[in-house]
């Protein structure tokens, strides 16, 4: 009953504004003829509308506002910047924007999921794409002492290391410097000072990112 009455009142509003279909307008006209209460309501609402139309004064926008806007438009670019677009998107379509943002985040994260997921196993994960970080390989280059070749130029003579304790390394043919880890073959390299400055091929396990090599065998060229 209440809903019905509210609907009828809303229809009277639509009738006053000329927004009803012909069928609904006829229905309202019949109602107004039959019911004095609804007719009174109709007259009152119509008068309210007319009052607003007649008596709500229309002010002119201040001249300084017009000038301000003209100046502002003169300084404003025609198209919004990226951040403005993004801000507008979140302001006016917060749900759609959040959804799009989430999808984008998933698309970015998903290909890297393995990387994040395996972060507890850095040896396997930090290699170059498609190449494991730890693998067996053979390196060719010149055997050097890391201290002599890398640090000595930076140190004062008194700071030079004990020449007995050379720290073996390899300057590979591609220019990269590798540290030879202590091990069976590694120890031989460390204590065989005559190998310094010789070319050799080292075979063993390499740790690509940290440039270490665990030598299993070597061959002096």
């Amino acid at each position: 009953m209440k809903e019905n009455q509210e609907q009828l009142v809303a229809m009277i509003t639509g009738y006053i504004d000329g927004e009803l279909s012909a069928k609904d307008a006829t229905k309202v006209e019949a109602l107004l003829r039959e019911s004095k209460e609804y007719y009174d309501y109709y007259l009152t609402e119509k008068r309210t509308k007319e009052l607003l139309q007649k008596r709500v004064s229309i002010l002119r926008a201040p001249l300084h506002l017009r000038n301000r806007i003209r100046r502002q438009l003169g300084r404003t670019g025609f198209r919004p910047g990226f951040w403005e677009l993004l801000q507008g998107l979140f302001e006016y379509r917060p749900l759609a924007a959040s959804l799009a943002f989430s999808v984008l985040a998933i698309l970015i994260i998903l290909p890297n999921y393995r990387l994040i997921h395996n972060s507890s196993m850095p040896l396997q994960s930090q290699g170059m794409e498609g190449v494991p970080a730890v693998r067996n390989a053979q390196l060719a280059g010149e055997i050097i002492c890391l201290d002599c070749d890398l640090f000595n130029p930076l140190l004062r003579p008194s700071e030079h290391h004990d020449p007995v304790l050379h720290r073996p390394g390899l300057r590979a043919d591609d220019g990269s410097i590798w540290t030879i880890l202590v091990g069976k073959a590694g120890n031989k390299l460390q204590y065989s000072r005559d190998l310094l400055k010789k070319r050799a091929t080292l075979t063993g396990t390499i740790f690509e990112n940290s440039r270490y090599i665990q030598v299993s065998k070597y061959e002096v060229l």
């Binding site: 009455q5 009277i12 607003l52």
Partner: protein
């Protein structure tokens, strides 16, 4: 001589087109903004924001649609997103509550609402009373009343501006005018322009 030296002919042409389309609506926008914000300074800032936004998004405006409705939609969105947030006590309305109140009042024969409130009573009201009565309306109702009765928008245009179905527009307008009548009646009674004791029918 362009104001911005890097403007090319195309952008000058677009700016001119925008100004021709938009500046004729400035009074309407300013008046609506003034009645929404209830503050001249805020209204000016709001209108300026609306023009800047409309200008920047002008490439999205479809030429076969109603520019006035388009720019009023920007006004509505900007007001809702920026200015209403500024207010300490946003005037939001519980539509369900208003609906119930309205129906209850309509059915309550002891309430003095409409009857006896004739044209002469309206004429006796001051413009300030009408303005104050409008300002008392909740935002959702005030906007549709302003758009329909002051700016003469069609329901279809209002639905686009406000972003709700046609039926909701009609319903909000009906309730808005009804509340307005109640407020106006209060002013008229207070001013001694109408008979308080007369009873309503609806």
């Amino acid at each position: 001589m362009p104001e911005n030296p890097i403007e090319n002919e195309d952008s000058i042409h677009k700016k001119k087109e925008f100004q021709e389309l938009a500046f004729v609506h400035m009074d309407s926008l300013y008046n609506t903004a003034l009645r929404m914000t209830r503050n001249e300074l805020d209204a000016e800032d709001l209108v300026q924001d609306v023009y800047v936004r409309a200008y920047r998004f002008f490439h999205k405006f479809r030429r076969d649609t109603n520019f006035k409705a388009w720019i009023f939609k920007i006004l509505t969105n900007t007001y809702i997103n920026q200015y209403r947030k500024k207010q300490n006590q946003p005037r939001q309305v519980d539509l369900e509550k208003v609906q119930n109140t309205y129906v209850e009042r309509s059915l309550d024969k002891e309430n003095d609402v409409i009857e006896g409130f004739r044209e002469k009573n309206y004429d006796s009201l001051f413009d300030d009373d009408i303005r104050a009565a409008l300002e008392q309306l909740p935002d959702e109702f005030r906007l549709v009343v302003l758009l329909a009765d002051v700016e003469a928008f069609s329901y279809k245009e209002i639905a686009k501006v406000v972003g709700c179905p046609l039926g909701t527009v009609m319903s909000r307008l009906s309730r808005g005018r009804k509340q307005l009548q109640n407020h106006l009646k209060e002013y008229a009674v207070r001013g001694g322009f109408t008979d308080k004791e007369r009873k309503p029918k609806l």
